[in-house]
């Protein structure tokens, strides 16, 4: 982990969505305030660091994640990956920046092409970005699958033949196949069962150790973040209301909203938690 410049730097990023005006407003020609989905957000992410991003639905966490990779164009602010301005990049340069940051989505059922085999999906990602080793398709796919602890035999299967946990592993394998330095996991474990979720969380921790990849981990479940994140940021109505070391934020929350979220979190009493 280099202590120097951060891998990802976001400064004062904002994104608003225009709301549809009511008929009365259109007749009166009144302009409505846009919804500030992301409102003046700044944060940094170091190499090999896992930053958790929490908040309720509608708090802007997904919009922020999408702004970073420019799936959504932010209105203002600075986004830098390793010192390169993401917002000014065009064409080949943008493609290269996007290769260096990959995204894993919530729904493993819809983020994989049902008509492509697992192997083809992974290989395509490598081929498009001309990754070293992608000339040898079988080996490239096998290595990618082994990285996420899946058997190379799965390469011939199609997504519908896999379980939810396996599909999400495939999505992660595909993201990692192009050698990213930053992984954006948008609710990547939210749709999974508890026992599968635990396996995936451990996988993210392994990947960080092995590949020194930084992870922006978006999740609405605070306990999930507690298990993986080094630092956490809490979002409310487009703003980051609290950010800090995971132990500090969850152990001694300062913001009222963070406290409310923690209080509402259903906590099972556990055998070894006493």
């Amino acid at each position: 982990m280099s202590a120097g410049a951060p891998l990802l730097r976001i400064e004062n990023v904002s994104k608003g969505f225009g709301l549809r005006r009511t008929l009365a407003e259109r007749i009166a020609r009144t302009e409505t305030e846009p919804l500030r989905a992301v409102d003046d957000v700044s944060l940094e992410l170091r190499r090999g660091e896992i930053l958790g991003l929490a908040g309720e639905s509608g708090s802007g966490k997904t919009t922020l994640a999408r702004c970073i990779i420019r799936l959504v164009e932010p209105d203002s602010g600075l986004i830098e990956l390793d010192g390169t301005n993401m917002r000014e990049a065009r064409g080949q340069e943008l493609r290269e920046l996007r290769r260096r940051m990959q995204m894993v989505f919530q729904d493993p059922y819809s983020s994989l092409n049902p008509r492509m085999t697992v192997g083809a999906a992974i290989h395509e990602a490598g081929r498009v970005h001309k990754r070293p080793g992608s000339e040898n398709r079988d080996q490239f796919v096998r290595e990618a699958l082994e990285r996420v602890h899946l058997s190379a035999r799965l390469a011939k299967r199609r997504p519908r033949e896999l379980s939810g946990g396996q599909r999400q592993r495939v999505a992660i394998a595909r993201a990692l196949a192009v050698g990213p330095e930053l992984l954006i996991a948008d609710e990547a474990v939210s749709a999974l069962d508890v026992s599968v979720q635990a396996q995936l969380l451990n996988l993210f921790l392994d990947l960080r150790e092995q590949l020194d990849v930084a992870i922006l981990f978006v999740a609405h479940q605070l306990a999930v973040l507690a298990e993986v994140a080094d630092r956490v940021a809490i979002m409310q109505r487009g703003r980051i209301v609290e950010i800090g070391e995971a132990g500090a934020v969850f152990g001694d929350p300062q913001d009222d909203y963070t406290k409310a979220l923690l209080a509402a979190h259903p906590q099972p009493r556990l055998p070894h938690a006493a």
Binding site: S195, Q199, L203, L225, L262, P266, Q267, P268, A273
Partner: protein, 342 residues
Amino acid sequence: MSAGTAPLLKIEGLRVEFDTPHGRVAGVRDAGLTVNAGEIVGLVGETGSGKTLACRSVMRLIPFPGRITAGSVEFEGRDVLAMRPRELREFRAHDVGMIYQDPFSSLNPVFRIAHQLTETLRANLGLGKAQAHARALELLADVGIADPERRALSYPHEFSGGMRQRVMIALATASQPRLLLADEPTTALDVTTQAQILTLLKQLNQERGMGVLLVSHDFGVIAQVCDRVAVMYGGYIVETAPVEVIYTRPEHPYTRGLLESIPRIESAGRATRLPTIRGVPPDPTEPPPGCVFQPRCPYAQDGCEKVTMALEMVGPGHGTACPVRPFTTPQRPEAAPTGAQV
């Protein structure tokens, strides 16, 4: 027939099967469960464990080509499976209510909230138009919707997820059912909204003495409101116990594994690997012999492949399907740290 001492709901030996091109597949293999009046019973399990099928069996709402092929479902001593269409209709209308996971698709988008409530009230209770409307407003107020007169004129899309789920609860409890079936009622909601809905369920349960069967995959939700818990795996109830017992003294390895793999807030700042259950849930087309959990069980030993999945009582109200107790050191190495699968 009056309720007498019969439990509100009693399911015994329930089996639900599906005819598929690959033969007959059992979604629920042998499930037994009781819910007493005024009690909230949690039914926990992962995807494919059969918990939703078991819950729907109570209303005989098994989707085609599924069928209940064995067992009994009794409501206040009446045999639900033997009910004739007319009786079944009455039973569904007055005795039980049901709420679903998805408050987004269970309301009709083209009708106002008031219309949907009054329609149910008129059909089920035979109320007149004005009467039904007045009652609908009362119901909305009961489930905590502010300004019911105005909100009743809204369409479902104008409501948030939490408010829609409140409307669903109002609909399900409109005819004062004695049993409410709640299938993952808070899964699609935010934690703060989830807490409100659970509080509402608890309140209705206490004020009206309504029994609730709460199906969930989330032990945290169960811990908040339930009196008793049944854990389902591979089509069987593997353990049942009072809620405070299941968290402190789980007596089935699956329950144990599940509890240990739940992420916890207290882990913040010292991220270690979570214990995981190795392997994958059983394929319903090829269930393992004996104990369904045995291929993944760290305590498995010789003979586990011959176990019948019957609940053995190990304490007051505490039953487990695992005869290998007390648990000592695992007979097989613990799950690989990464939970490698396949």
